[in-house]
Structure formats: C-alpha cells, structure tokens
Symmetry: C2
C-alpha cells in the first residue's frame, strides 16, 4: 500500500520532492525540537494521482487522511468539527520548489455555526472565535468556493464604516456576528449553496482546492517564468491551528536570519500583535520591525533569536521564517531558504564562510551564477525608479540602465555622441551596419527581435543596455518617430531603459555605477580555485578585451573579424571587393584592406599579450556589407563608378532567401580564397610581432574538405610570413560537422562549438524569426526554455557529445571550447563541464558569471 500521508515526525528536510518544501521543513523543525504545531503532510505523489484520477481523491487516500486526522485529534485532545472542543487546522500548499503566494491556503478550518460556539466557550473568548470564523468563511469562500474577495471586503468595510471602526481588531462581538451572518448570505447568494457545516467535507474540498491551485494560471506562469519543471505537484500540510488573533499577548510575523537585500548579518523581519498571517501583508495595519518585539516581549524575542540562529546553523543558509505567538507561546509555522539579491547572495556566502558555517565549495553553490549580471552594469536608483511607471516593457536583452536622447539612425547616434550627448538608439531591428551607432549609444531599443537578435547579442557583447522586441512600440524610421500607446516621441526626446527588467521609461531616471565589492572579488578568487574550465571571452577590439581581462578572462575564444569591417574606410574596400567583376580588381580591393585589418589586430593582440587569441575568419553573407537605402546606393555607385542600376542588380544577385544557410562562413573563403589569404596575412604579420598564442578558426565547416582547403591557404601564408607557432581549427556549428567530427579532427587542432548556429540548424529555428513561436512553445510546455538562451541538450547537446566522442577518438589532445551565447549561461556551462570542454568563451560582461558557474559545475560534479 502506497503511503500518501506523513506525520511531521515521519519526515525530514531531505524529503522535499515528496513532502514539499514547507512540509519537509516543518518535519525537520519538529525533529530539532522547535515548537511547531502538530500535523501531517499529504504527499506530492497524491497530487499527481489526484490529477490522474480526473481530479478526485481515491478511497485509499481518504482513508489515510482520516487516520492522520484521528492521530492529530488524539495528540491535540480535540476533535474536528466538534461542538464543544473543536480541532481547527490550516490546510496549506507547498511544492518541492518554493512558489511563494502562487497556490492556495485555508486557515481556521473546522469552524461552523456550532463549533464556533464551542471554541468561544473553551477559550472564553467569543470575539476571537467569531474573528476566526469570519476569517475562515472569507478564505474558504474565496479559495475553495471561488467567491471574489471583494464581495467579503465590501461587507467588512461597510460594517466598519457604519460603526466608525478603523482597525479590524476593534470590531466587537456584535459586529463580528453580523459579519459572519452576512458572509454566509453572500456564500448562499453566490453559490446557491449553504456554507458547508460539515468539517470533514470542509477538509476534503479544501485539500482538493489546494491540489487544484497547482494548475491555476498564475502557478503555471510562475513555473514557466522561473524555469521550474518536472515536479509531481504540490504537497498539502494539515496542521493544528495556533492563533495570533487571541488578543494582545498573541501575534504573528515573518523574519529573515539576515538582511536579504544587503546580506548584512542582522536579524530582519516584521510582526503584528493580535493578528493572523494575512494581516501582515494586507497593509491596513503597518507591521512593526522585528526588534520592537524586544520591548514588547523580551522572552519571546530571545526565543525567536535563539531559534533563528539554530535554524540558520542547521540549514547553513539564510532562513525565511513564519511564526505565531499564541497567548505568549511561540510557534514556528515555516522556514525556508531566503530569496536574496545578488549583492546579498555574495555577502552572505562570504560571511558564512568567515563564520565557519560553510565551506568555500558550499558557499559558491549558494550563489545563482546568472544573477551576477545584476552587479556589473549601470543601475537605476531604486528610489527614483519606483516613482515612475514604465511606458512599455520589452525583453530584458542586455542588462544595465541607460538614459539618453532617442535617435533613429546609426549616423545620428554617432553625431550626437560627438556632441557629448547621451543617446538611445531606437530601431525596428538593428543590422551589422548599425554597429558604430550601437557603439555610440548608451542603450538600444528595438521593436522586434528576441533575446538573441542582432541588437541583443551585440549589446551584451559590449556590455551595453538593450531592450529588444518591444512589441507595442511602433518605430517609423522614415519620419523618425516612436509611438507607444498613442503617445509620440521624436528625435531628441529623452527615454530611460532598464535592460535588467526590459522596462522603458519616459524622461530621465537617475542612474548609478555598479561597484564590485571585495566580497565579489573574493567569490571570484574562490571560483578560480575550483573550476576546471578555462574562461575566454568573445571580443574583437581592445576595449572589450581589456574589460574582459579585468573581469578575469584568460584569452579570447572568438574574435569576429566582420565587425571590424563596418567602419567607413573598411566598408568601402569591402564593398569594392564584393562588387569586383574579376579576380584582379577583387585582389586590388583586398590589398587596400590589409593594412586596415592589421591595425585592428594590432590593438587587440597588444592587450592580449601572453594569452591565446582565437580569430575567426570572415563569416557573414557578403550582402550584409552592401547598402540598403537608396541614398547609400547612389553614393556607392558614384564612388566606384558604376550605374545605380548595375549596383542594384549586383545587390539583388547577392540576395538570399535564407541567408543563414547561404553563401557565408568558409564558403566565402573557398569561393574567394583571396579573402582568407588577406585575413591570414593580417593575422600572422601582427601575431609575429606580438607575444600571443594565435588560433585561426574556420567557420561554418560542414565537411573536412572545406577545412583542408582553407587550412592549405592559411598554411601557405604562414610559411610566407615565416610563422610556425599557431593553431588552425574549426567552428563546429553545422550538424554535419558534428556527425563527421572524426574526419575533421584528423585535420583540425581544435573545435569550438558555435552553439548559436548549431541550435538554429539542429532545431530548425531561425534565431531572427523564432521569437514568433518560441514564446507560444514555452507557454504550451513544448520547450522549457528558449534554446538560444539555455543550451538545448537532447538535440544540440547530443550533437556536441557525438562530435567530442568522434573528435577525441581521432585526436586525443583536441582542444575543445564553446563560443556561442551559451558560454556565459550557468546551466549550459555545467553541460560544458560535464562533456569535458577545455574552456568556455563568453562576452566580457559574462566572464564573472562563467567563472562562478564553471566552479559550481566542478564542485557539483566532483
């Protein structure tokens, strides 16, 4: 016979999966000797079975619940629904992972028209009994019977108004009796049913209601947004009620063992006397700071402090606790790990190590790596922020805070920047042509494009604030206007962007710089002690590289050479090259490019002295370099001396239906070997003069013969330049490359997984277009995450594993890295650790995340 119910005495903190976080911690507290009202837990498996059974409880489950209720009656010497000595219970939800406020709870269950009298008589406190009863009817009526809270609140307010009462606690017996009567009438009216008087019936429908709340909309959304998957359901805790509303010697509160916002080691919390839990958050009476309790009841305060210390020591983590004082006696109703900000997480972790509570390994695991993001970018002053309402919300594409005048073109952005102004670049979507504009802007706002759109990727790479895919903004680049909810903004109007929340504000909000604390540096150092993976960065200029080195990068994992081509001088040569009609004129154009390209590398390589630098050959389709606007086409046509018609024709010849799968990557270097020659020459000639470990990476290889073709060109150039200390390898981003990795490894010295493109091709998701359906997919549970954010392991990950296995078989010392966006995301990094990569590479601002995440992966999998 399956066991569906566990009394607290039968559980412990390691049974979260089965008993939920709340249930298992109640059991644990019980075993620690902490005063916890008696009770039992109905398991999460029961919830699953409930759904499987078309939302009904089997006889066996009911039987086991009844047995536990009997036990509880025995312990409490009370009886559920009894007219003289009624047992009152709370019925609370609690899944394995905390979902605060998302599911339902019923308190004071067991009261009815008769038992309320018994309770009054027994406690000699009619007011308390009626107060409990009116609370019960409202909560049960709302949660279980589906009546709007408003319907009850109105009655309460009316009666308070009528009697000139401000606080609930000032209601007298008569008031409360009237409220109870009217509450029951509302129930009758709204549901055409009496308020249930049978307490067993109350119990069962309350349990069912809690199970039902597992799948209410907000719970589903919360799980989706929090990335919670694979749970069985919610557990239900049934616990004897203790009452904070029995008068001024009673009360209730919530507290944290340390400050969850700053991490300061200071008891933190608030409480209310003569109240039940919901009053603390309701906001009519302002709760008191926890240290006020010292004055009110020193004994209780001391006990509280003692227990919170005990719990923190026991759980080795900040605790978030609920307690109730019933007529001078303290009870604990909940304890759990406290949610905290990134700042707090770091301080707490360091302090707990200093205090000898945690080992360094344990401390590192307490910090959510991805949350470090919050610490590295400019931030808004919270005080100023809360005063303003956002005018729109888009995707939080790249964190940070930006304030500036809006502009609609890259040129405008550069111009205003030169005038010393702060600028926000507003575009429908950005393209590589906008790169200088992005560089000049403080923040980027786009109306389309997802978390990995061009704007988002580039902005994150530069550590620049970006809000992308801001759907309800209409950008008209011609008239240079931005319209949102009927309000129009023009060039020069000021907006503020919060890249950490995706919110867009009108006007200026005050910002402040982020500061990296000593504690932060300590966490980074500890991380370095444990991590196995090296950390590199994706950077293609000296500034980015410098920033990354400050953050702790140990090399460059991806230097994209195409970004270099977008400044005015270079794009001219590139365009000339693309439009060349024969090899000679192409070579001529390329020759002009060589010294410019060398200059780029010079700056970068100088910064990276002594470290490995991986340079990727030209990757994007050539038409990305060609002008799109009429004006630019005219200009270019004049410049290179061909007709506009001819130029347009050339541009349209280069048009591709699916550029992602088109003429790009090494396909360019194969059809135009001169490009590879020039790039290799630039790289080697500079590398020869600088002290760096140079690696050249061939992109978009699908067949080893493509690589061999390019390697030969690179090799010949190296010979000519007279350099021998370099590596040539492959970016693995085409599924076929992974599937034929054995052949490729025979020729290539390293693999770097380009997981952006590998995801696109393995899943058949265009990064630019998939926003349209991925959201729907996540909503419907088809994918748990956006695969461009978290590495998709069953398909993309499988290909990576195949590639590693086949590759290592042919070349034992094959160097392995990742340079897609996933290289800076903690779960993906753990995957990289597990499959045995040598390094991850990510944008400079994600280097600290990668340092911590690699350490966590090493600790978790040691």
């Amino acid at each position: 016979m399956k066991k569906y119910t566990y009394s607290f005495e039968e559980g412990n903190k390691d049974m979260k999966e089965l008993l939920g976080g709340k249930g298992s911690n109640l059991a644990e507290m019980k075993s620690l000797g902490i005063p916890v009202p008696s009770g039992f837990v109905i398991t999460t498996e029961t919830c699953k079975l409930y759904y499987k059974n078309n939302k009904s409880l089997t006889d066996e489950i009911r039987y086991q619940i009844d047995a536990k209720i009997k036990e509880l009656e025995k312990i409490s010497r009370k009886k559920l629904g009894d007219n003289y000595n009624p047992l009152l219970v709370s019925v609370r939800s609690g899944a394995a992972v905390s979902m605060p406020g998302m599911m339902d709870t019923v308190l004071n269950l067991g009261l009815n028209d008769e038992s309320v009298k018994g309770l009054a008589k027994k406690t000699k406190n009619k007011k308390f009994a009626l107060d409990s009863y009116r609370r019960f009817i409202q909560m049960f009526g709302n949660v279980v019977m589906g009546i709007a809270s408003r319907d009850f609140e109105e009655i309460l307010e009316r009666i308070k108004d009528k009697n000139n009462i401000y606080l609930d606690t000032d209601l007298n017996v008569e008031n409360l009796q009237n409220i109870v009567n009217e509450f029951k009438e509302v129930v009758q009216k709204k549901t055409k049913k009496e308020f249930p008087q049978n307490s067993n019936e109350q119990l069962y429908i309350a349990i069912e209601a809690v199970f039902d709340s597992w799948n209410n909309d907000r719970a589903i959304i919360y799980r989706r947004l929090s990335g919670i998957h694979g749970l069985l359901g919610t557990a239900v805790s049934i616990q004897e009620m203790v009452f904070g509303n029995m008068g001024e010697t009673s009360g209730t509160g919530v507290c944290f063992s340390r400050n969850p916002s700053t991490g300061e080691k200071k008891f933190y919390g608030e409480y209310l006397m003569n109240a039940q839990g919901e009053d603390v958050v309701a906001g009519v009476r302002t709760p008191l700071e926890i240290n006020m309790l010292k004055n009110q009841n020193l004994e209780i305060y001391k006990e509280l402090v003692e227990i919170k210390d005990k719990l923190e020591n026991h759980y080795k983590d900040v605790q978030d606790m609920e307690f109730t004082i019933q007529e001078g006696k303290l009870y604990f109703l909940q304890t759990r790990s406290g949610k905290r900000t990134a700042v707090a997480a770091i301080k707490i972790a360091v302090d707990l190590v200093d205090e000898g509570i945690l080992s360094k390994e344990e401390a590192l695991l307490k910090i959510e790596a991805n949350s470090l993001n919050q610490l590295l970018h400019k931030q808004f002053c919270i005080k100023d922020l809360v005063k303003n309402n956002p005018i729109s919300i888009g995707l939080a594409a790249s964190p940070g805070a930006a304030v500036g005048e809006i502009v609609f073109t890259a040129v405008e952005a550069c111009e205003k920047r030169c005038e010393g102004k702060n600028v926000i670049l507003v575009r429908k979507e950005t393209s590589p042509e906008d790169i200088e504009g992005i560089n000049s802007a403080n923040g980027i706002l786009t109306s389309t494009g997802g978390m990995t759109s061009h704007a988002a990727v580039v902005a994150r790479g530069m550590g620049k604030c970006c809000v992308s895919g801001c759907d309800d903004i209409v950008v008209d680049e011609k008239t240079k206007t931005l319209t949102v909810n009927g309000e129009e903004f023009v060039s020069g109007d000021v907006l503020s962007l919060d890249g950490s929340t995706g919110k867009v504000y009108k006007g200026k909000i005050i910002t402040k710089d982020s500061e990296l604390s000593d504690d932060f540096m300590k966490i980074m150092q500890w991380s370095d002690e444990f991590r196995k993976l090296k950390i590199r960065t994706n950077a293609d200029n000296g500034n980015d590289a410098k920033k990354a080195l400050e953050f702790g990068a140990e090399g460059i994992g991806l230097c994209r050479t195409e970004h270099m081509f977008f400044d005015v001088d270079k794009i001219k040569c590139i365009r000339e090259m693309i439009l060349a009609n024969d090899l000679n004129s192409r070579k001529k154009a390329i020759t002009k490019l060589l010294p410019l390209q060398k200059q780029d590398f010079k700056e970068l390589f100088k910064v990276m002295t002594g470290l490995p630098v991986n340079v990727r050959l030209l990757d994007p389709p050539l038409h990305e370099f060609l002008p799109k606007e009429k004006k630019d086409i005219k200009e270019l046509a004049d410049e290179i001396g061909i007709s506009q018609k001819k130029l347009k024709q050339k541009i349209s010849e280069l048009y591709e239906v699916n550029p992602m799968l088109g003429h790009r990557g090494c396909r360019l270097g194969i059809t135009y070997p001169e490009i590879t020659q020039m790039q290799a020459t630039a790289i080697f000639e500079v590398a020869k003069e600088e002290n760096i470990d140079i690696e050249i990476m061939v992109p978009l290889v699908g067949d080893v013969k493509e690589f061999v073709n390019q390697k030969k060109i690179i090799f010949d150039v190296a010979n000519k330049v007279g350099i021998s200390n370099y590596k040539v390898g492959v970016m693995i981003e085409v599924p076929r490359a992974a599937l034929t990795a054995d052949e490729i490894a025979r020729e290539a010295e390293f693999f770097s997984f380009g997981t952006n493109d590998l995801t696109q091709m393995t899943l058949g998701f265009s990064r630019d277009d998939s926003g349209k359906f991925i959201e729907e997919y996540i909503k419907k549970g088809i994918y748990n995450n956006n695969p461009f954010e978290k590495l998709e392991e069953d398909g993309v990950g499988e290909l990576i594993k195949i590639a590693i296995k086949k590759g290592k078989m042919e070349r034992r010392d094959l160097k392995l890295g990742i340079c897609g966006e996933h290289g800076g995301e903690s779960e993906s990094i753990e995957f990289c650790h597990k499959v045995g990569l040598d390094y991850v590479s990510c944008s400079p601002f994600r280097v600290p995340i990668a340092r911590l995440a690699t350490a966590q992966a090493a600790i978790r999998n040691s």
Copy 2:
C-alpha cells in the same frame, strides 16, 4: 617489390581497378584466344605514385617497364628503335571506368629517321612506313609536346592541295616524305627542340604524357559530370602496333554487338580500309557500314562476327569493340560494355534474358535506373532538333519537350491555356502563387534557381518540362520581355524547351509522345519480382495520382496540402484566415475552407481506393500565401475591407529573415490549432466515405511534444467524425527529430524522411541559395554531388540511421519511408534499401525509376 607492370597474360577482366578497363579486357581477350597484339599494362597504382612523386617515374618503375619491353621484343622478334627491324607500339590510356576520348593515346611509337627506313625495307612498303611516321610525329607532337593539331593539319592540307590530292591515302612517297620533313620543322620551330629520335625517350615521355592527361581539364570535368570518384588514376597499355594502313588488304573499324541506339540484335559498326583508327572518326573519308565488309572480305567478316558473338556471350553484355586488319589478318584492340540509350538498354536486357544469356537479376542490373527518365516524357524529334541551335542552355530541371508561346505571369498562362494555346511560362523564379500557371503551361523557363528550385520541384512533380537557372536570360516581368544575347522576345513569341538537356530553342521544334514498350513493361514486372521496398508517389491531385498508378505506384507517400490552397477561392479564405485579428474571425475563415478542402481530398482519395494515402498537414510559412504585387495588395485590401497600409503592415510582420527555419510546419498547427482541426476534419470526413488507408503526417517536428500536441487535436477530430482506422506519424526533417527519434517513436506510428529539409538543415545549405557555391564545391571536389540530388550519406544518411535505430528500439513495427526528392534517385534508393525503409515515395514520373532501382538494390544487396 611492388608489381607495376602486367603482361596481358598476367591479367584478366576482374582487374579493372588495377589495369584499367582497356588493359584488363585486352588481357581477358588474350586468355579467350582472340587475336590481340601482344603487350603489357602499367598499373593505375603507378599513375598514383607518379603524381605522388611530383610527376616522375621511379627507377623501379622504369626498370619494370624496360623488362616488359624486352619481353615484347622477344615475342615480336623486333626491337624498339631498331634501325632494321623496329618494334612499334601504341601507348594508350585506360582508367577503371571508361572515359572515352578524355585522355591521351600515342600510336606508332618507335619510329625515327632511321627506323622508318628499316620499316620501309622490312615491309617493302615505303609509303606505309612514311604514312606511319607522319602520323606518329603529329600525334606525339600534339599529345606529348603540346603542339596544336592545326599546325600539322595545315601542312597536310597545303601539300594535298598543291598536289591536287583529296584523300590521305592518295599521298605518294614524295608527298609523305615532304610532310614528315615539314612536321619535324614545325616541331623544331614550336618547341626549339628536335623531334626525339631515341625511342626509349619517346616511350617514357609518352607514358608520362598519358599519366598527365589523367588530370587534364576535360578529364577532370568529365569525371565530375559523370560522378566518377575514388579512382587511383589511369593505367597505360603498351601494345605492339598492328597496321590498318598497309594498303587495301588492311583496315580498321569500330563495332557494337547490337545496335546501341535501338537495342536491336543486329551487328552494328563501321570500318575503313587502308586507315588507322583516328581516320574512322576524322570524317574526311566516310566509313562503311560493317556489313559491307562481307563483300570485301567474307573470311574476315565471319571471323569478326564469330568473335563479337564470343565476346558478348562471355561478357553477357553488348560489346563496343575496336579492330584492325593488317594485310588480311584480324586483330582486336579493345572491347568494352557498349554505352546505350535507355530504349536500347531495355530492349537489350529483355533480349539477353530471352536468349538465355542473362538471368533476370543480371539483366535488371544492366539498366541505369535514372536513365528511364528519358522514356517518360514528350520528346523532340531528333531530326528536327539537330537542325536548330539553342539560344541558351540552363539546367535540365525536369525532362520533356515543350513548345509554346511565352508568357510572363501565371494569369496569362491560364488565359492562353483557356484559348487552347500551348504556353511556356517564363519567370525569374516561380513561387507557390504560380502553381496554376505552371499547371497551365507546357513548360517552365526560369532565369534563376537550381535543380531543386520551386519551379524544378513542382515541374518534376507534374512531369512537366522545366529549364531552370538559365543564367544568361534576362527576364523583365514588368515589361514582359525576355532578352538573351541581345535578342528580345515578348509575350506570344514561340520558344521550344528541352528539359532533358536544358537547351532553349527559338521557334517551334517538332515533338513526339513517348511510348512505353512491352519490353519496358516487362522490365517493370521483373523489378516488382525482386524489390523489397514499396513504391509510393508524391501527389496532391487526382490527375497526378492517376498517372502514378499507371506507372505502378502503390500508394501516396506525400500529399502536400498547401498546393491545394492556391486556387482563387481557397487562397481568399486562407488570406482571410492569416489576416484575422482574433480566434473567431480566424475560425470563420477556416470554416469556409473546409468544404473546399474536402473536395480536394474527395477527388484524390477516389483515385487511390484500397491504397495507403499519406496526407501532410499545412507546411509552408503563411506569408507565402499573401500577395506580393502592389495591385494584388490593393485588391485584397479592398476585398477584406482593411486599409492597404494595414495589410502591408501585416505582410511585413509576417516577413521572415530565414523562412526555411521560421514559422511553418507543425509550428503553424501549434500556434493556430484551428488549422489542424480543419484539415483533420476534411481528411477524416472524406476518408470515412472512401476505402483508403489514411495516414496523417505532421511536418517539421523537432520535439515529441510538438507531435503529441498535434496528435491530440487529430485524435479528437477522429473521435468526433467517428473514424478509428488511421495512422498518425511524423515527417523527420529536423536534425533534432532524428536525434530524439526514440522519444518520437513512442508516440508516432510512422516516420517519413523529408530529406529535402533534412539536407538543408544538416548541411546548412539553403536549397534556394546554395546553387551559388555548390557548383564551386563540386568543381573543387569538396562535394562529389549536389546533395539535393543524391542523398548525402555521411551526414544526412547518418542522421537517418540514428533515427531508424532509435525509432525501432521503441517501436518494432514503426513504418519507415522517404518522401524527399531523393526517393526517386537510384543511388539514394539503394541507401534506403540498405537502411531498411519500408517504402520510397517520389514524383509520378519517377515511379518507374524507383521500381527498377529498388529491385537493383535488392539484387545487389541480397
């Protein structure tokens, strides 16, 4: 010590890889007792080594050649380069696979200023000796020394003119001596070197020249175009010369044991007396039909017939032979399998079985399956064809012959068709909107797009002639003109298209229908006896299905439902649906579509009574259905009552950067479940009334949950309609689907490999764009074939194997098929057989190819 040389006595016909086709067959003939001049073969491995050694022959190779020459001198009792009794040899190329005329040959080697005198004295025929010498100088001068043939021909013509001689054979000794002298002067002048007089030197540089010719341009191109890969190189046959130019009792000829054009069992060939081999093809003297030899020399004729019968019986195949008669004695110089037309291949195969020479299995293997294509479409009358020169050549995208007035829009095509005119639709490229136009046209001509462009795929599907990617044609759809090489054609001008060659002709060329012979039907029946795979067809209307059934299809493997949506009524509803702002209006539009869609299925299902029909749910991105032209946008906006601006906005919202990887396939059915509901309803309501095995296929699945989502909708509809006898499965075309096939197979009853898309994603090749670099790739040997034509086995094939393995592990009776273009290509079909598919599905006109290819695969792998 490696053996580099084999005398004919040491070889046999199974040593082709090593001795080349020519060498191994000479050896075989020798062993059959057929008169073959003595000689030996230098192996193909030697050729490889030659290239490895920077194009030089090692001492060991030279030593072995010298030894064989000594043997030959012993047998012939002559001596190479001897002044009195010279040995003359031929030096011929010959790879394992026949590459007729692509590589070099030198005849009469061993002559010099002295030995020619010896030859004259020995044969008492000075004229013959000088004739041989002038031939040798010309051939050696051209092939080995690189002098243009023209330089020699001019001398020859001049001397003939001067002496009023028409035929070479009429040159007298003096003429010939002058020719020899002038030839030698040309050599001196052009190369600044004497014509080599040392015969050993002649021999070595001739051998090297033959090896060099392995990698001359035309040989490389030939191998590429013929799909010949992986050979070591060419062998070289060195053989004692026999002379057809010794007077009127000597001669030379080529012959086939049967007619290679019709297959008729009739000795076929031509010959010339007093001539050497090259004279037969040179065209100055018209060769005689082979049966004329009967009158000239009955003995020799009889011997020839006897030997050709012997060879055909021995090789069990039509032989293509070369012979020489030297002073009344017959010698065979070559035999090989005769190249033949598809018609001939069929007749010969059937006849050889009837004659008891071949088993059915052997006969089937003699026919090249892909060549059946030639037999199924309308054809031009060869006689009329050769009178015309093409004005352009594009890709032979879909075979057949089409003549008609050119039109530039689908609408025009339909109109002219209604007037009873034959039409050729000319477009830059076609889109799904053109479908009715394509249907109305006799042929399609596009200036861009490859072998698998929209036009090509649709045309092949319809068995319609198509020439695509006709680069040098400029199509201006606005002015409705087509310009090629400065000549302009307008609507109504007549063109003729040859879809089997890609040639485009001005004006009308006479066409004829193809007729399927009884022999053809017999081959089909025999194929059915051996094949293991079932054959289905890709068809989405009754006409195509009927055609396919005639050709022997056993079901439908892919009914694309989107083609159905392009006629006027339906596209209106589809557009209304796409443009709907809410669920209700969308549902309204879809409801209108239901009866129309049912009508489509009714027609198709009726034709397919008793057979399986696989219907794929809507697949293409929705914007394909929206209008692109200004006029059409206006019309549609008026019709559905929204502003043009709004409509344009909607269209631009649906724009995708990479539509191939965008919002399409099951992603549509998931975001708009109403579409799947409607389609399933239409399918089931019709299927219920007809007797067919219905299969519903969900496209573009990448995760099992996508499939489960769609299956649930289909299942619910089936329940509602009251049908239970159906299957639901998945089109495997996303790499991730293959990688997670185990999970998918738990839910899906069948897999059908959509190898077009699977190729696109696995290789990262956009079908529409890859033409730009695939040609270059094939040229550079990176890919051997266009992967959209022949299934790419290392990547795409590997994923198919993974999918099958994982799928079968979960579901033993998983039904497996292929529905990509590869399902009608013989090598790909062999792959399908080997990996254990249940059926292949291809366009109707490829069904016969598939029948034969599946049989061949079964026979080859039994």
